[in-house]
């Protein structure tokens, strides 16, 4: 029976390698046919900004990695309403489609999981 695993991504994409490494773990969990979803919250929503280009600073482009999620059957992507608003990010203008959740809805989403991993 597939486990419900949520990746809680709260780190900026380029300040450290945590964001990219957590995404790799999410992709692997997808390959293992688990019920995987991702919640972008706080600085993690910066990962969703379009037009990223990691090559300019010698690293991978995290935005591109996000586009691989659907190929690994990871289609349940969520973003924190408050975090997006604070950063003037509009849900319509992100690299991948996300369902915007208010914090209370996020609490219920977390409670449904068997395991939660963070970056």
């Amino acid at each position: 029976m597939a486990k419900r695993i949520l990746y809680l991504l709260r780190q900026t994409p380029y300040g450290s390698s945590h964001a990219a490494e957590a995404l790799e773990s999410a992709l692997v969990s997808g390959v293992f046919d688990q019920t995987v979803c991702v919640l972008f919250k706080d600085d993690g929503v910066w990962q969703l900004v379009p037009d990223q280009d990691g090559a300019l600073i010698g690293t991978r482009t995290v935005g591109k990695m996000l586009k691989a999620l659907p190929e690994y059957e990871i289609t349940r992507l969520f973003a924190c309403e408050r975090s997006l608003a604070e950063r003037n990010l509009s849900p319509a203008d992100l690299v991948v489609a996300v369902k915007v959740l208010a914090p209370a809805e996020q609490a219920e989403l977390l409670a449904d999981q068997d395991a939660v991993l963070n970056d």
Binding site: S17, H18, S25, V28, S29, V31, F32, A115, L117, N118
Partner: protein
Amino acid sequence: MKLAIAVHGPPWNSESSASACRFIHAALDAGHDIVRVFFYHDGARAGDALAVTPQDEASVLDRWVRLHEEHGIELAVCIAAALKRGILNEEERERYGKAAASLHPAFQIVGLGQLTDAMIEADRTITFAA
């Protein structure tokens, strides 16, 4: 309970390794089982046999090694995180033509799937964040 433990912080510059050791001892005392300790991100550096612990500090490496030797706890270091941070076993040393290997024998280098696998098998997954 069967517990999967993830360690994300490096041994000298965050407390996640030390906290994880304390938690594991308490969990074993309470009769629980540890499926695997998975070292990811900077946590991979926990397996560094070359680190020298200052005398006025407790060696976290010794504590991990004792947990492995006395309780058979599996200490799994993620290969992608390890290579980038200079944590190599003999096999990777050869593959990348490096001068030396740095992994302590109590640890093993594994693929990322071992984390997901541990989460599948365990009743709980606890992450000691960086």
